[in-house]
Amino acid sequence: MRPINMRREGVAVTQAKDVARDPTLGRQFSIQADVVIVGSGAGGAVMAYELAKAGRKVLVLESGRYWPSAEFTENLGDTLTKVYRDQAAQANTTADALFLEGNCVGGSTVISACVMQRPGDEVFRKWSDELGLKGLGPRELDPYFEQVEGWLHVHTNEAHEVNATAHKVIQGCERMGYSWRPVSRNVKNCALTGHCLAGCPSDRKMSALVTHLPWAAAYGARIFSDTEVSRVLMRNGRATGVEAVIRDPDTGTVVSNVRVDAQVVVLAAGAIHTPLILQRSQAPDRGGNIGRNMAVQPFTQILATFKEDLYGFQGALVGVEVDEFLKSDGFTFYSALAEPEQLMATGEQEAGDEHINFMKSFKRMAGLNAFAIDKGEGQVIWEGDHLSGRKVIKWSPSREDFERITRATAIAARIFFSAGADRVWLPTFQKMHAKNVFELDEMLARVNYGINGIYSYRMNSFTPHGTCRMGLDPYDSVVSADGEVHGVSGLYVADASIFPTPVSSTPQWTVQVLSRYVADRILARAASHFLS
C-alpha cells in the first residue's frame, strides 16, 4: 500500500511559467497518461479524484490560471476581470445576456454562491424511465448524492447564516403566504463575509480547489493550468489524446504546444466549452446535437431599497429560497446581495446624480434573484478552424421565458413591497423603478418582448447545461448512458453538458454526481480502455 501525502494548503499545479522555465520541455512536447481530463471544475475534479484513487495515471488540463485561495482579494471588480472567463463578459450574439463562469483551476466551483440543490426525484425518474437511462434513477443516484453531501459539508443554512437581505425576503413571504426555506450550501464553518462570488480566501467554501483537486493530486494526478485544449485526437473511432496550447496568462503568448497521448479522454470543460472542443475535433455527430439544446436557467435580480440601513451585503451570500413557484411557474428565488460591483450587471442603474444616489442607497438594499427553467433552445457553435476560430453563443429569451421573467419580477417586487420596501428596481434595460404595486404593474406592462426579447430584461446565466446531452439514440443525443461520445471509444464527457433535459435546480451537485457515475462506468470498462 503506497503512502498518500496531501498538502495542507494549495494544489501542486504546473503553470505556464513553470513550463517556460523548464529547458527540457521546449516549445513542443508530449506527455503520456492513462487518462487526460479537460477542465478542473465540478466535473473534472471529481473525475480526477476517482480515477487517480483507482490507480490511474491522470493528467488534468485547465485553460484558466491557478489562483491559490490565499490570493483571493474579496474585491469583486478585480476578480471579475481576472478569474471569470472573458472578464465576466462572455455574452450571447446579441450581447444582452452574460454567461458567467470561472476560468481558473477549480472552475466555477471557485466563484459559486455555494447553493447546492438536488433536483426532485421526478427529474431522475424521467431520465431513467422515459429516456431509458436506467443508471440515473433516483434510487441509483442516492448514494452518490449522499457521498458528495458528506464530503462537501452540504448543510441547510442555520439561523446565523440568514442575513438581513434574507430576513426581508422571509418577512415579505410570510405576509404574502409564500413558501420559503433556508438554502443548502457547501460551506464548512462559513465566515459570513458575503464575498462568495470573489472566491473564498479562508477555504471555507468547499470548492474543487480545496477538495477533489488536492485529493486527486494526493493520489498522483498532475494538473496543468494555462493549457487550452484545441482538439481531441482520434484514430479509427477511438480517442488517443488531445492537442493543447500553453499560454502565458498575462500576455497571451504561446509558451508551448503540447500533445497528450492517453487511453481515455474526459471532457469536463463545462456546457459551453466542451461542445466547442468536440466541434473543433470534428467528433461524429449523427443528429447534429453537439452544442444544441442548451438550457441556461436565465436569472435576473430584483433590487429593493428600504427606509432602514440593512447592510444586506454582509453575512452568508445566499440565505433563503422561495420555492412556492417552482412547480407551478418554473422559477425559484434566492435572496442575495453581493458587492456593489455586482449591481452593474443587473437592471438599469441610472446616470448622473441619480446613479450616485442609487449607489449610495446600497446599504439599504436587498436583492432577490429569480432563476427560471427554460426549454433548452440555446446553442454554442465554433466558427472557423480549430486554432483561429471563435465561439458563438446563441440564446435569446423565448416569449415564454420573457413572460416567466415578467411574472417572476412582479412576484419578487410584491415580496419586497410586503416587507416594507420604499422602492423596487426592475431588472430591465429601460429605467424602471416603482414605489408601489400600482406603479409596478403599469411599468411591467410597458416592457415588451420586441425583437426576440433582446434588451428587454437583463438576464444572465451562471448555469448552462445540456449541450452534449446523454441518451440512448445517437441521432438524438451526444453521449451514451455511460457518458461516452457516441461513435468514439474512450472519449467521455463529465460535466453539465450531459444533462439529458433542462433542470431547474442549481447544477453543481448533480454535475459532481454524474461525474462520479461516469467515472464508475469508465472503471467498469477498464479492461477495454486500459492496457494495464
Partner: protein
C-alpha cells in the same frame, strides 16, 4: 428561435434571426443613417495611440471621458474624482486590452456610434464636444431610446461604473466595508481532509 408577435412581419423580417453580425450591421447602419446629411460623412479614424492609454484610441478615450463625466458627477457628491483620482478610464483601458477580438470590435463600433449619433439631435455636435449637462441628457435619452441604443448605453455604463466602483476609495461613501477576512482575523482552513477510503 421564436417569432416576434409585437412587430409586423414586414418590419421584423430583416431582424430574424438577429445574429451578432446582424446586430453589428444594424447598429452601424443606424449610426450612419443618423449622421447622413451632415457636412461630411465621418469615418472611424485610426488615431495615434495616446501616451497613457495603450488599448483605446484617442478618439475612443475622448468619448469614454465624456461618458464618464456624464454618468459619474462625483464632484457634486463629495466622491473621489472619477478620472483624476480614480483611474476609471485606465482600468477600462486595461480591460479593453484583454477583450476577445469580437468584443473589441463591438466596443469600437459602439463608441463610434455614440460619438456621432448626436449629430442628428444636438446641433451637429459630436458626443465628446457636448457640455457635461448635454452629454448627461444624451445618455439618458439613449437609455430610453430604441432597443440597440438601450443595449449600447447599458453596456457602456456597466463598463465605466464597474471600473469606478471597484476602487476601494469609493466604498466609504456607500458605507460598504469591502474585504473583511484579514481585518476580522479569519483563519484559513486549508484543504479539506482526504475522505476515508
Amino acid at each position: 428561435m421564436t417569432w416576434n408577435h409585437d412587430i409586423p412581419p414586414a418590419l421584423s423580417g430583416g431582424f430574424e434571426p438577429l445574429s451578432r453580425r446582424s446586430l453589428l450591421r444594424l447598429t452601424a447602419v443606424s449610426g450612419l443613417a443618423l449622421t447622413t446629411g451632415c457636412a461630411r460623412m465621418f469615418g472611424r479614424r485610426e488615431a495615434p495611440e495616446a501616451l497613457t492609454y495603450l488599448n483605446m484610441t484617442e478618439d475612443e478615450v475622448r468619448v469614454v471621458t465624456k461618458f464618464t463625466r456624464a454618468v459619474l458627477p462625483t464632484a457634486r457628491h463629495g466622491l473621489p474624482d472619477c478620472i483624476d483620482e480614480i483611474p476609471t478610464i485606465k482600468n477600462m483601458d486595461i480591460m479593453v486590452g484583454k477583450m476577445a477580438p469580437t468584443q473589441r470590435e463591438l466596443l469600437a463600433l459602439g463608441l463610434w456610434v455614440y460619438e456621432y449619433r448626436p449629430m442628428a439631435s444636438f446641433k451637429f455636435s459630436r458626443f465628446s464636444k457636448l457640455s457635461d449637462e448635454k452629454a448627461h441628457a444624451y445618455v439618458v435619452a439613449m437609455q430610453e431610446g430604441a432597443f440597440f441604443e438601450r443595449g449600447l448605453t447599458t453596456s457602456l455604463k456597466a463598463l465605466v461604473t464597474l471600473n469606478y466602483w471597484r476602487d476601494s476609495r469609493t466604498w466609504q461613501a456607500l458605507d460598504y466595508w469591502g474585504p473583511v477576512t484579514e481585518r476580522w482575523g479569519v483563519r484559513r482552513l486549508g484543504n479539506a481532509p482526504l475522505p476515508m477510503a
